[in-house]
């Protein structure tokens, strides 16, 4: 125990003290923020406000269209919530568009506008004469007609205007018109342990995806680190000195837990940083505050994340033990990555049918359990015995691999040169029992 603790401390301090750890810990959230915000910013930076001309038969109708168009979109892509801050959205529309009204729907005017579009004085014009409306053939002429969403928005806006006009003509009051045309929203209600929970399916999926992302990142960053450190010890022969003081299992366990703690430290720092920045944002964005994560799920998150991380790190350590160079080790990496990738592929079926027998069994297999069982818990709490069994199998497998690995490690370390083949490894395992 003491030896394991000494090794854990060495591995931990050794890594946490380096400059690269500090830089990665502080810089990565910055880089991530930039990566997420920059494309959105870039997309708007290049966009000047579009200058459009609306051509109608009467100025009143033109003004009406202009108003409606500048109003925020009755969103087609926001499926389940109101846009709370209409003013902000309106401002946004005003920044995007400058709309002039032209009440001279003649062919001559059309030519003039065409020339203006060609000479880039305006960006486009919308032909909304009464004739065009009557024949149902409204045109939007412009240089650049790739914006699908804008076209959809225009036709929806026009539909609403024209429908309300037609209804008004038939003698309905404007209040009645608004009631009639009020879009219908579908709200999702999910049952959770007999109670209605508000959180949407998307929110649940997010909980799973966050976990998978973190697991992925931790495994990729620190699993490799474990492998590299095993290789370093083999190549510098420090192992021989260590093995004359401690058992290989103690050394392996110490290494895994030490490097593991480094990864956890980093993730904790990131989560704290993220919540510091995200909390104010969540206050204004109710869609995120919907994400009520229950304490049970948090516990499951911690347990399956930690165990998954340990399991995959142990596999990396095993690779480090049987190879002699980093290049060789990286070639074998896919063996570790495959189960992780497979379990990500299974996420969609898990979320859809968490009770399907195949998925239940899948969530028992230790290599898939961290992702699949966790996803099941998030989507629909499975029977307790299943969770317990899955955890037990996971822990057992980690311990088993650790011991096997320590054996390979101990023998592999003393053998130089070529990578051992499978029969040789099996022989070592048998031999190293002593």
């Amino acid at each position: 125990m003491r030896n394991t603790w000494l090794i854990i401390r060495r591995e931990y301090l050794e890594r946490v003290r380096t400059r690269s750890f500090l830089i990665l810990t502080l810089l990565l959230p910055g880089i991530m923020t930039v990566v997420m915000i920059l494309p959105a910013k870039l997309a708007t930076v290049g966009n000047k406000a579009q200058h459009l001309v609306v051509v109608t038969s009467t100025p009143q109708f033109g003004e009406m269209v202009r108003q409606r168009f500048l109003e925020p979109a009755a969103d087609a892509d926001n499926e389940d919530e109101d846009n709370p801050d209409t003013n902000a959205a309106k401002k946004k529309s005003e920044q995007e568009y400058i709309i002039d009204v032209d009440s001279n729907p003649t062919e001559a005017e059309r030519d003039v506008l065409r020339d203006k579009v060609s000479s880039k004085t305006i960006d486009g014009f919308i032909w909304l004469s009464d004739d065009a409306i009557a024949s149902g053939k409204v045109t939007w002429t412009g240089r650049n007609m790739t914006y699908y969403s804008e076209r959809t928005r225009l036709s929806e806006t026009l539909n609403r205007i024209i429908q309300s006009q037609r209804l008004a003509k038939n003698g309905l009051s404007s209040a009645d018109v608004d009631t009639l045309l009020k879009p219908i929203k579908v709200e999702l209600v999910r049952m959770e342990r007999g109670r209605e929970a508000k959180g949407s399916g998307t929110g649940k999926l997010l909980e799973v995806v966050v976990m998978v992302m973190l697991l992925y990142m931790a495994v990729l960053l620190y699993g490799i680190s474990v492998m590299r450190s095993v290789l370093e010890e083999k190549n510098s022969r420090i192992m021989e000195v260590l093995l004359s003081s401690a058992s290989s299992t103690e050394l392996m366990a110490g290494k895994l837990l030490g490097v593991g703690a480094v990864g956890l430290t980093q993730i904790v720092v990131w989560v704290v940083m993220a919540s510091l920045f995200a909390l104010p944002a969540m206050a204004v964005q109710p869609s995120f505050s919907d994400l009520q994560i229950s304490p049970g799920v948090l516990v499951a998150f911690a347990a399956f994340f930690l165990l998954g991380y340990l399991l995959y790190s142990t596999l990396y350590a095993a690779i480090g033990a049987i190879t002699t160079t980093e290049q060789e080790g990286q070639q074998l990496q896919f063996i570790v990555i495959i189960p992780l990738v497979l379990s990500v592929f299974m996420l969609a079926p898990v979320v859809r049918t968490p009770d399907a027998p195949a998925i239940v069994w899948m969530s028992m297999i230790p290599f898939f359990a961290p992702v699949v069982m966790y996803a099941r818990i998030v989507v629909q709490t499975p029977p307790l015995w299943q969770i317990a069994l899955s955890l037990l199998l996971l822990i057992g497998t980690i311990a088993g691999i650790l011991v096997l690995c320590a054996r390979i490690y101990r023998i592999g370390i003393l053998i130089y040169g070529k990578r051992p083949n499978l029969p040789e490894i099996l022989k070592w395992l048998k031999y190293a029992k002593a």
Partner: protein
């Protein structure tokens, strides 16, 4: 300096071994070890007395390192037994070992002092005690200025000194060094040798392997000569030398050379006129030859040349019955 003790018997006689086992710090009995097809150690037996410097000698690839690793418990013999401090190997013994591996191994990014403290702590020392001892040893090896530096900033020779300190910091009863002198400059080699002698005097048992016979000859009380994984010779160095068949005499003389014809004393000789190298007949007394020679000639030099280990090794290896050299038949 060695107080001559009776040599250790290499014997397959079980009763004989039992009497030796009680005294030996390390004892190997009929140990075999192979890696795949390659036989590294073949039926090796040896016994190391407490408080002595014991050398395992042999050419490269003779099985020296494999033998050391089995003694430390890094590997396990395929057959045969290893016992340490009079009992079969146990993990608990490890803290009493100090091991210097052949290929040095230290964490390159760790600071010298921290590294030494870690190594000592792994052997059971408290942090404070390890710290204190590490500093005093660093002083002795003129490393004080380097204790705060990373290992990779040190020269190879200095790293080796660090490694050496790491091996003895916890005051082990048994010190095992694989080629301790390789890569050291002469001055460092001398200070390392001095430390080893001191440790031996203070009662530690020291086991070292080397392929340099001349070094072993100066330092070791007992040796085991290995070749192709087999012990060629084993036992007290003086006894081996004395027991080994031949003895050469170099004589510078002026006058009558008839003493060379005395077949009872001289087996063969090589005469250069007034200088001769003679090999004495088995059992001949050098004093008798001196008297005889000085009776007829003026001698300016009469030197008994002990066989060097190298000669013994070559002679032993070239004998057909490898492993049971007639010359080393001990007085069992």
């Amino acid at each position: 300096m060695a107080s001559v003790q009776p040599p250790v018997v290499r014997s397959s006689n079980a009763a004989g071994i039992d009497t030796v086992a009680a005294a030996g710090t390390v004892e190997l009995r009929n140990v075999c070890k192979s890696y795949g097809e390659f036989v590294a150690v073949d039926d090796l037996s040896l016994c190391i007395q407490p408080g002595r410097i014991y050398g395992i000698l042999g050419p490269n690839g003779a099985g020296k390192t494999s033998t050391l690793r089995m003694i430390i418990g890094i590997t396990v013999p395929d057959s045969g037994t290893v016992s340490v401090f009079g009992e079969p190997f146990r993990r608990a013994h490890m803290d009493q070992f100090g091991y210097l591996p052949e290929e040095r191994g230290l964490y390159k990014k760790m600071k010298v002092l921290e590294h030494l403290v870690l190594l000592a702590q792994l052997k059971g020392l408290s942090g404070a005690e390890a710290h204190k001892r590490a500093l005093s040893w660093c002083e002795r090896f003129e490393l004080t200025a380097w204790t705060g530096k990373k290992v990779e900033e040190l020269s190879k020779g200095m790293q080796q000194k660090v490694q050496f300190i790491g091996a003895i910091l916890h005051d082990p009863k048994l010190i095992i060094m694989d080629e301790p002198f390789s890569g050291l400059d002469p001055a460092s080699a001398v200070s390392l040798k001095d430390v080893l002698l001191e440790l031996a005097k203070s009662g530690k048992t020291i086991l070292l392997s080397t392929h340099r016979m001349d070094q072993a000859e100066k330092l070791c009380h007992s040796i085991c000569l290995v070749n192709h994984g087999r012990a060629v010779l084993e036992g007290d160095l003086n006894q081996i030398k004395a027991g080994y068949g031949f003895c050469n005499v170099q004589i510078k003389y002026d006058g009558d050379a008839r003493f060379l014809q005395e077949k009872r004393l001289v087996e063969s000789f090589n005469d250069y006129g007034n200088y001769v190298e003679a090999r004495l007949a088995p059992g001949a007394d050098t004093q008798e030859l001196l008297k005889l020679a000085s009776a007829g000639a003026r001698l300016s030099k009469f030197e008994v040349m002990e066989p060097s280990l190298e000669e013994i090794f070559i002679a032993a290896v070239s004998k057909p019955a490898v492993g049971k050299p007639a010359g080393s038949k001990p007085n069992a």
